[in-house]
């Protein structure tokens, strides 16, 4: 994400900070710890924040920073600009998620402290088109980021390096 995706004053960041790692402002969400921000133009910024948490709960990888999930989800905001059906699918889906969280725990989905609490709510909606859409998109948009691959050890493109013939195709040493 480029730095100029977002420009906000420190004061507005602090004023809008929530209890979670994210700060919400009109038109953006900010992650001060990871030093990135994401412009959110079509969806509500809170909706994107919830989507990011939901994505992490669907495919939790503790060694993956939030920004990879944010990148994977960014298209929901851009595509919603020209796709009213997608926009309402996402906004309504997140609203339902929050409603279920409030009914059970009296708080928004993102404010539930334990992953198990959030996952229990996701299990209730996993057959919904909203959940299916988010999960089905994420399995490509998360794992197909080249920046994610080194975290898993995957080395990606190999032909440009001459393959692995001289780079350890048979270097296993513990058998």
């Amino acid at each position: 994400m480029k730095d100029n995706d977002v420009s906000l004053s420190r004061r507005s960041l602090l004023k809008n900070a929530t209890a979670a790692a994210f700060m919400i402002s009109a038109g953006a969400i900010i992650n001060p710890l990871e030093a990135w921000g994401l412009e959110v133009n079509t969806l509500k910024p809170e909706t994107m924040q919830t989507l990011i948490q939901m994505a992490r709960d669907i495919y939790p990888h503790d060694r993956l920073a939030d920004r990879f999930y944010a990148i994977a989800l960014k298209e929901y905001d851009t595509k919603s600009a020209s796709d009213a059906g997608l926009k309402s699918l996402v906004e309504d889906g997140v609203a339902k998620l929050d409603q279920l969280a409030k009914d059970k725990h009296g708080t928004r989905y993102v404010d539930l402290g334990w992953e198990a609490q959030r996952v229990a709510i996701l299990r209730e909606i996993e057959k919904d088109p909203f959940f299916q859409k988010v999960r089905g998109g994420l399995v490509v948009s998360l794992y197909n980021q080249k920046e994610v691959w080194p975290v898993f050890g995957y080395q990606g493109e190999a032909a440009i390096h001459g393959g692995y013939l001289h780079r350890g195709f048979d270097d296993i040493d513990w058998l």
Partner: protein
């Protein structure tokens, strides 16, 4: 300038498809001096166009035109519009294939006689024997440069193979090797040896793996007798009042339709598109589709009994490095009904990159049970199971109510496992897991079959015209100048990866066609 034949040239042989069957047949015919036009639905991507990136390559090569699915197989749920992972490009699925090149076993040509009358299975003996096909297997192995034949060395074992081999030997398997692969272990036929790149499925960037795209078709084109016309999607085959086929109608990349006349038409569009084309070619004379007096066109769809086993270890494996499938256990390939099923299976090394592992390890799964498996991706080993599945009349390709952009009905692929398929898969899951457990696996994953890569049987060979679509030469029982040249002519599937047998049959068919043309019988 490559040869171009006129649309009205009635003397040409027209082949639909340029993969293992069509690409080989077209090249063989051209080498014999016969004018041939291959119409390929996909584009022509050469080696330099291939990309070492799973999803980008999938977008470049895979057949993603609309198809529908039905039946109880899990693919119909997880990948409702992607029943098969095959290729739409010059070279067909030989750009994507792994290279395993095993001959069928003797008994696999006569399964009805050997396996008996199995409830629900539409078993039939092939009209040919292993002995009849052996000379053509020899020719196929030589031209494809299959390792461990013709004095060609085997490939070296990669990390994934070393785990596989140690596990296999630990549980008592003896026939364990890096297999017979149509991948050069050293420079041969103007193509280099394998560089252990690990992207066999994405099109070999070095051309070490045999593909009709660069190992056959250019040789045919060099004779001046072969034209390969890419982006030519055949919509229907036409015939005259006597019933003989006269040519095909195809759409070019802009959707404009053309009529290519032909002396002979050979269909080699894979076991989904080939029966679809025959069914879509129905006419008042052939109301059930071409070559379908038996009613068997589209039936007996086989996809091999498949599955995978992945295992996680406490130390790194890095299975993605090196040849994807150079590792085969053959101990379970024979017919030993005491195991609780007829027929047999092979175990073959397999690896997916991280993006495809996420998509195919357990489609639809989410949460930590799933993601902790991926967290151990670098410590995974993997194998693929490929065994003989039972032909069933109800497993079939039919015309869907959905239409493609040319207004032609798309294929619906219906599949249910036969109880024999399930018993064999469960046996293979246990054996594959035992192999990895024997090397210290901390966790194993019996992984569901992927969208089909081996599509077989939907225009099968039969001695009696009542039982199948084509005779022992792949010539349709009903129409003498209409041939089938791909895996859809398989009477049964065998336990072996099908490409070598498709190529052997294509070489044999080319001989037959040339002879018949010489005698003016077709």
């Amino acid at each position: 300038m490559a040869t171009q034949f006129d649309l009205n040239d009635e003397s040409v042989v027209v082949i639909v498809g340029s993969g293992a069957g069509g690409g080989t047949l077209g090249t063989e015919l051209a080498l014999k001096g016969i004018k041939t036009v291959i119409l390929e639905a996909g584009a022509r991507h050469e080696i330099e166009d291939f990309v070492n990136d799973e999803w980008d390559s999938f977008a470049q090569l895979a057949w993603t035109d609309m198809r529908t699915t039905s039946g109880s197989w899990r693919v119909a749920r997880d990948f409702a519009n992607l029943p098969a992972w095959i290729v739409k490009a010059v070279g067909g699925s030989t750009t994507h294939w792994a290279g395993a090149s095993l001959r069928f076993q003797e008994h696999e040509f006569r399964t009805r006689s050997v396996y008996g009358d199995l409830k629900g299975a539409n078993l039939l003996d092939w009209p040919i024997t292993l002995k009849e096909l052996e000379p053509y297997y020899e020719k196929a192995e030589f031209r494809m440069g299959v390792t461990r034949t013709n004095g060609i060395d085997g490939l070296p074992g990669n990390n994934n193979y070393k785990v596989f081999e140690k596990g296999a030997k630990a549980i008592g398997y003896q026939e364990v090797s890096t297999g017979r692969m149509a991948i050069n272990s050293a420079e041969r036929d103007g193509r280099p040896g394998c560089q252990q790149t690990g992207f066999c499925f994405q099109g070999c960037k070095f051309g070490a793996k045999w593909s009709t795209l660069y190992a056959e078709i250019p040789k045919g084109e060099a004779t001046g007798n072969l034209e390969v016309r890419p982006n030519a999607h055949v919509l229907r085959i036409e015939h005259d009042a006597s019933g003989k086929v006269t040519g095909v109608v195809y759409a070019d990349k802009d959707g404009n339709q053309h009529r290519q006349k032909a002396r002979i038409v050979a269909v080699a569009g894979n076991s989904i598109e080939s029966p679809r084309l025959l069914l879509n070619s129905e006419s008042s004379k052939y109301p059930d589709g071409l070559a379908n007096s038996s009613g068997q066109v589209g039936r007996n769809y086989m996809r091999h009994m498949t599955g995978s086993v992945y295992a996680v270890f406490d130390r790194p494996v890095r299975m993605w490095r090196g040849t994807t499938m150079a590792g085969i256990v053959r101990d379970e390939a024979g017919h030993r009904p005491d195991r609780g099923f007829v027929g047999g299976y092979e175990l073959e090394t397999l690896s997916l990159g991280l993006p495809f592992m996420a998509a195919f390890l357990d489609p639809g799964a989410w949460g930590r049970e799933f993601t902790t498996a991926l967290d151990s991706y670098d410590s995974m080993a993997g194998l693929w199971i490929v065994g003989e599945d039972m032909p069933q009349e109800t497993n079939r390709i039919t015309l869907s109510s959905e239409k493609d952009r040319f207004g032609m009905p798309v294929a619906n692929v219906h599949f249910d496992d036969h109880p024999n398929d399930i018993a064999m898969r469960n046996h293979a899951y246990r054996q594959g897991s035992a192999m990895y457990d024997a090397v210290g696996a901390t966790r194993t994953f019996p992984t569901t079959p992927y969208p089909s890569t081996h599509n077989l049987g939907t225009n099968r060979m039969s001695e009696n015209p009542r039982d199948g679509v084509v005779n022992k030469w792949g010539q349709s029982h009903d129409i003498p100048n209409l041939f089938v040249s791909d895996g859809s002519q398989f009477t049964t599937g065998g336990a072996e990866n099908p490409t070598l047998t498709i190529v052997a049959l294509a070489i044999r068919q080319a001989e037959y066609i040339a002879k018949q043309m010489g005698q003016n019988t077709i």
